[in-house]
Each structure stands twice: as structure tokens, then as C-alpha cells.
């Protein structure tokens, strides 16, 4: 199971770019954590989990990063998100149309918070 800290580091790396993604665990909480506000991102994640009962952190990790969290994961997620929108796999939250993959990322954040 992914630790919340690992997820945060991964998301931080995505935010900071590939070069940073290769860096080891960041000492300070990354900027994306601020952007992904623990409480707010968690609330979105809980909403997604409500529509996807039974989802576990382990299952979501396997879905989102089957080969582990790495810089290559970002490109894979980008393709997944684009494909979700093309296929109509959309998670609606308060009017926002998000890719189901984005919902799952928030869901994972909620489960690991």
C-alpha cells in the first residue's frame, strides 16, 4: 500500500517537473500539497469513494500506478485522463466534470490522509 507521504511526494514531483520527480523524498511538504489541500482534496476524494464503494488504497494504487510511482507515471495518468474524457468516464463533483482517474487520485488521497 502506498503511504500518504509517498503519494504526496509523487504529486509534488509531478508539480515540480520530471527533474524533481527523480529526487528522493522531499524534506518539506511540497507545494502541490498546498494546492491539494488535505481537507479539500480529501472531501473530493470522499465524494468519489461514495460513488465507488469498496475502493481501497491498494486497489487504487494498482490502478493508478501499477508499476509504482515514478516520473513515467505522470505520462500514463495524462493518457488515462484524456481517455476518460473521450470515453465519457467522468466524475461529477459540485458541477465540475473531472476524469474518473482524477477522482481516483483524490480518492487515494482521502484514503491515505
Amino acid at each position: 500500500m502506498i503511504a500518504r507521504r509517498d503519494l504526496i511526494v509523487f504529486l509534488s514531483a509531478l508539480s515540480a517537473g520530471a527533474a524533481s520527480a527523480a529526487m528522493p523524498v522531499l524534506a518539506a511538504e511540497p507545494s502541490l500539497l498546498t494546492g491539494l489541500d488535505k481537507t479539500a482534496g480529501g472531501r473530493i476524494g470522499q465524494a468519489w469513494l461514495k460513488e465507488n464503494p469498496g475502493a481501497t488504497a491498494a486497489a487504487l494504487t494498482r490502478r493508478l500506478a501499477p508499476k509504482g510511482w515514478s516520473p513515467a507515471t505522470l505520462e500514463r495518468l495524462r493518457l488515462k485522463v484524456a481517455d476518460d474524457f473521450r470515453q465519457g468516464r467522468v466524475f461529477r463533483h459540485r458541477g465540475w466534470r473531472l476524469a474518473d482517474t482524477e477522482g481516483a487520485l483524490f480518492g487515494l488521497l482521502a484514503l491515505t490522509a
Binding site: 504529486l11 509531478l14 508539480s15 515540480a16 517537473g17 520530471a18 527533474a19 524533481s20 502541490l32 498546498t34 494546492g35 491539494l36 489541500d37 481537507t39 479539500a40 482534496g41 472531501r43 473530493i44 505522470l74 495518468l77 495524462r78 485522463v81 484524456a82 481517455d83 476518460d84 474524457f85 473521450r86 465519457g88 467522468v90 463533483h93 459540485r94 458541477g95 465540475w96 466534470r97 473531472l98 476524469a99 482524477e102 487520485l105 483524490f106
Partner: protein
């Protein structure tokens, strides 16, 4: 030759001309201007005066009810008065000056939209659009022209549709518009009669020609007319009212042998949701690096673009035309409530869509407009009550079908998918289907109720805007639009007016 107050004419005067235009609004003025310097004698009959006055506006009193399946009815009884202006210059006096051509798709027959299709194409109308643009001193709108600046490419279902503002509107440059609406009246072959309320279209015994018009003034004087040809250009509601009320020869009203006058009324409505601490507003979280200058243009003189559905997109999404207009938010969202969730959505989208170091893209507000499909049950009728001159008040049953609501929802989802799939942004539309009538902000666009169709059983006017079955009566204005698209109708009605003038010139023996 001049602006003439019909109230000052001797009682029972007969106004004679080759062509009489009923209505001194933008359509009527534009037609008259096409005949300047020709041998054709023009008379324009305007019910209002030079200035907006409430006594004249009183003649627009009526009622309106907006309906859609699953929505509570909404009474808009002030709409008939507040959405038009009975004055020389017409609603141009309060127009904001936004100029937009209909898209090529708006003219197309679209099998998934009953009653769609014009008897003319955008290509047919293009030369007249160009001349209307010249009249308003704005750039032309060549079809399929590239955007005027860096655009956001969201794929084949949507394109960046341009809008331009003219200064010739009462809402933009009052002095310029004042010249526009009055200077033409000084031409030697033009007379403009003010305070000339037309109360009846009088047909000949055979019922196939207009023989005269009854004119009533508020001071009690009554006049009549004689002309070779007549054009009704009193606006999208009043055209209907006058046709239906003129029922002495034709009991159902002039041009209404097939019960079409007043039906197919279409309007434009803006849908937006304002956000607060508990509710997200309608918005787009743009991804980093997206160009916004083309879409969020605060200078009314410059081009502005909106996302609009292509014909391909409409077909794929089973929708009509649709636009999404962006605007700068007043400021950052208030702390607390939903703002943090929005920020989290923006941050994740930036990560997924952006390049390293770009940060979040802008969060912009948006409003939506969806085509009102032609619908015979959306109609203008006459009420039993009459105004001071004996003309019945109107009632508007402004009706949407389930297909209208479906079309809006399909298009919203389609745009959200297009933005997301291309990594351009995320769309938030929190509007509820059951609240669309309540939240819709009605524009002053009155279209479709004397629609154009070559078949008299399917339209009130033919492709030349001539009323079916009447040799010498034409209609100008947005009431002839078979479909309404999303475009502000003024530029199109001006193009049609110029086209109509060209059509009539040989019939009227126009020579320079």
C-alpha cells in the same frame, strides 16, 4: 426629405410612396438607406418619436410565460415592454453593438433538429453580411477564417467563434447612432413619419395585395397609405401582432392561412450560475499556458471569441448550436466553503496538463447559451385586452422542449470532455436541469415567429422574405429566421434587409 410628425398632418392624410416601410428600427432604416439617391420614393412609418418615451412604450404591454419540461413556469410579463424600444432607431437605441454572423451550421438542415434549415446558405448571405459590416464599419466575417489571435484548440466539435462590436448602437456611441438613425431622412426621396402607429394592414378584395395601411396617432388623427410595395419591419414580436390583428379580410390574420404566424418563436437565453461559499459558480479552470486574450477581451472595440459548437460537434453530441463565453472572475474565490476544493481541482489539473513550473492556469467564469429549437408550440398570440389605439395586447408562450434541455446538457458535457481530453482545462457547470427556466437570463432577441420557408405550409415568408400569398408585402427583421443559432441577430437581420432591398430595386424600377 425630413422627419415628419404624423400627428401634425391634416387628419385623414394619405401617405404615398413607391415603398412604405413600417418600422423605423435598424432593419427599416437599413432598407431605406439602400434606396438613397435612387428614383424610388420611400416612406418610413415609425410608431415612436425621436426619443424614448413611456407613452409609446405602453403600447408594448403584454404578457409572457416561459415553459420547459420539468421546470416551473416562469412569468415574464415585463418582457414585452422591457425587451424592445418603440422609437426611431428601434431597439438599436439600447443595443450593445455586438455583431455576430450566424454560423454556416445554423443555415443547414440538421435531421436531428425538426424544422431546421434555411432556404439560403451562409454562402448566399455572405455578400450581404459583408455589406452590413461595411455599414457598421466593422471587419468582415469570412466563413472559416482563422481566429484573430492565439486560440485554445479543443478539437473538431468546437471552434472559437468571433464577435465584434460596432459603435453604431445607442448603447455604444450615442452620437454616432443618432446620425445613423436620422441622417438618411434628409435624402430627397425619403420621408420618415414619426408617431405613426400602424393599426391595420388593409388587403384588397381578393386578399392578395396590401391596398392600404391604417395609421393612428395619439392625438386622434387617422391617416392611410398608398404604395406599390410594403415592408413590415416592426420587430420580432410586433410584426406578428400586426399580421394577426389585421383580420378583417383574412379571419386568421394576414399571411396566416396555415396558422403559422406567431409560431416558432425563438429567443436567446444566457445560463450562468453565480458561486458563493457553498456553491460553485459556472467556470472553467484553464490549464496552464492557455491563451486567454482572445476570449476575455474587455475592450468592446476589439474581437472577442467564444467556444461554439461546429456542425460536426452538434451532430455527434445530438445538440444544437451552443456557445460558452468566458469572462474574468471578479477576484479570487472567497476563502472557505468550496474555494479550497476548486483550488485542489485546479492544482491537480495543472499537474496533469501543464509543463514543469507553470503553476495553475486561470480560473475564469463562463456563461452558456444553447440554441432554442424551432417549436410550433412556442408562440405569440393575441390577448383579448386592447391598447388605446385598439390593437390587441400580445401573449408569449415561450416554450422549450425536452430536446432543448437535452441539447444544452449534451453540449456542456461535450465541451467539458473536449477541454479535458486535450488537456486544456476543466469545466464546472452546476446548473440543474429543473432550474434552467428559473436561472435563464433572457436577451432581447425575438426570432422565428414569421419564419422563412419556400413552402407556404411551412413558412410565413418565402426565401425573398415575401409573405406567401401576398404580392406586395415583405417582412424584415429577425422574425423571418427559421432557426436562431446563438448569434446576436442584428447583423443577420441587417444582411437580410440589404438583400431584400436588392431584391426589390428592380421591381420598383430603381434608377440612379
Amino acid at each position: 426629405m425630413a422627419l415628419i410628425d404624423a400627428q401634425a398632418l391634416p387628419d385623414a392624410s394619405r401617405i404615398e410612396a413607391d415603398l412604405i416601410i413600417v418600422g423605423g428600427g435598424l432593419a427599416g432604416i437599413t432598407i431605406a438607406r439602400q434606396f438613397l439617391g435612387t428614383s424610388v420614393r420611400i416612406a418610413v412609418l415609425e410608431a415612436g418619436g425621436r426619443d424614448i418615451d413611456m407613452d409609446a412604450q405602453e403600447f408594448y404591454v403584454g404578457s409572457a410565460t416561459v415553459r420547459a419540461p420539468g421546470n416551473p413556469d416562469r412569468e415574464l410579463n415585463n418582457y414585452p415592454v422591457q425587451s424592445r424600444t418603440r422609437v426611431l432607431g428601434g431597439s438599436g437605441m439600447v443595443w450593445g453593438g455586438k455583431c455576430v454572423p450566424l454560423d454556416p451550421s445554423d443555415f443547414a438542415e440538421r435531421p436531428w433538429i425538426p424544422h431546421s434549415g434555411w432556404p439560403i446558405t451562409r454562402q448566399d448571405l455572405q455578400p450581404y453580411y459583408d455589406r452590413a459590416c461595411d455599414l457598421l464599419e466593422i471587419p468582415h466575417f469570412p466563413p472559416n477564417a482563422p481566429p484573430a489571435g492565439p486560440a485554445i484548440d479543443v478539437g473538431p466539435d468546437f471552434f472559437s467563434a468571433p464577435r465584434v462590436f460596432t459603435r453604431y448602437s445607442g448603447g455604444t456611441d450615442e452620437d454616432a447612432f443618432d446620425r445613423f438613425r436620422t441622417e438618411f431622412a434628409s435624402a430627397p426621396n425619403v420621408d420618415v413619419y414619426l408617431h405613426a402607429n400602424v393599426t391595420r394592414i388593409g388587403l384588397n378584395a381578393a386578399g392578395d395585395r396590401v391596398e392600404t395601411l391604417d395609421i393612428a396617432c395619439l392625438n386622434g388623427r387617422r391617416h392611410s397609405t398608398a404604395a406599390k410595395s410594403y415592408i413590415l419591419a416592426t420587430g420580432g414580436i410586433e410584426n406578428v401582432r400586426l399580421l394577426l390583428a389585421s383580420n378583417d379580410r383574412a379571419p386568421a390574420g394576414v399571411g396566416n392561412g396555415h396558422d403559422l404566424v406567431g409560431r416558432f418563436f425563438q429567443a436567446h437565453v444566457v445560463y450562468a450560475v453565480d458561486g458563493n461559499a457553498e456553491t460553485e459558480g459556472s467556470a472553467i479552470q484553464l490549464s496552464p499556458g492557455q491563451p486567454t486574450a482572445l476570449y476575455i477581451n474587455l475592450k468592446r472595440g476589439g474581437p472577442q471569441s467564444v467556444f461554439a459548437a461546429t456542425l460536426e460537434g452538434q451532430k455527434r453530441l445530438n445538440s444544437g448550436n451552443f456557445t460558452c463565453t468566458l469572462y474574468a472572475n471578479a477576484g479570487p474565490p472567497a476563502p472557505g466553503g468550496v474555494a479550497e476544493e476548486t483550488a485542489a481541482i485546479g492544482a491537480l489539473a495543472a499537474t496533469l496538463d501543464g509543463k514543469a513550473g507553470q503553476g495553475r492556469g486561470p480560473l475564469v467564469g463562463c456563461f452558456l447559451m444553447a440554441e432554442h429549437f424551432p417549436n410550433p408550440d412556442s408562440r405569440i398570440t393575441l390577448r383579448p385586452e386592447k391598447d388605446a389605439l385598439g390593437l390587441p395586447h400580445i401573449h408569449m408562450d415561450w416554450t422549450y422542449s425536452a430536446a432543448d434541455l437535452d441539447g444544452l446538457e449534451h453540449a456542456v458535457d461535450g465541451l467539458a470532455d473536449a477541454l479535458g481530453a486535450r488537456g486544456k482545462g476543466r469545466l464546472c457547470w452546476p446548473g440543474e436541469r429543473s432550474a434552467l427556466v428559473a436561472i435563464g437570463n433572457a436577451s432581447r432577441h425575438h426570432m422565428g415567429a414569421t419564419r422563412m420557408h419556400p413552402d407556404p405550409k411551412r413558412g410565413v415568408v418565402d426565401a425573398d422574405s415575401k409573405v406567401h400569398g401576398l404580392a406586395n408585402l415583405h417582412i424584415a427583421g429577425s422574425s423571418v429566421f427559421p432557426t436562431s443559432g446563438i448569434a446576436n441577430p442584428t447583423l443577420t437581420l441587417l444582411a437580410l434587409a440589404i438583400r431584400l432591398a436588392d431584391h426589390l430595386k428592380p421591381q420598383l424600377g430603381a434608377t440612379r
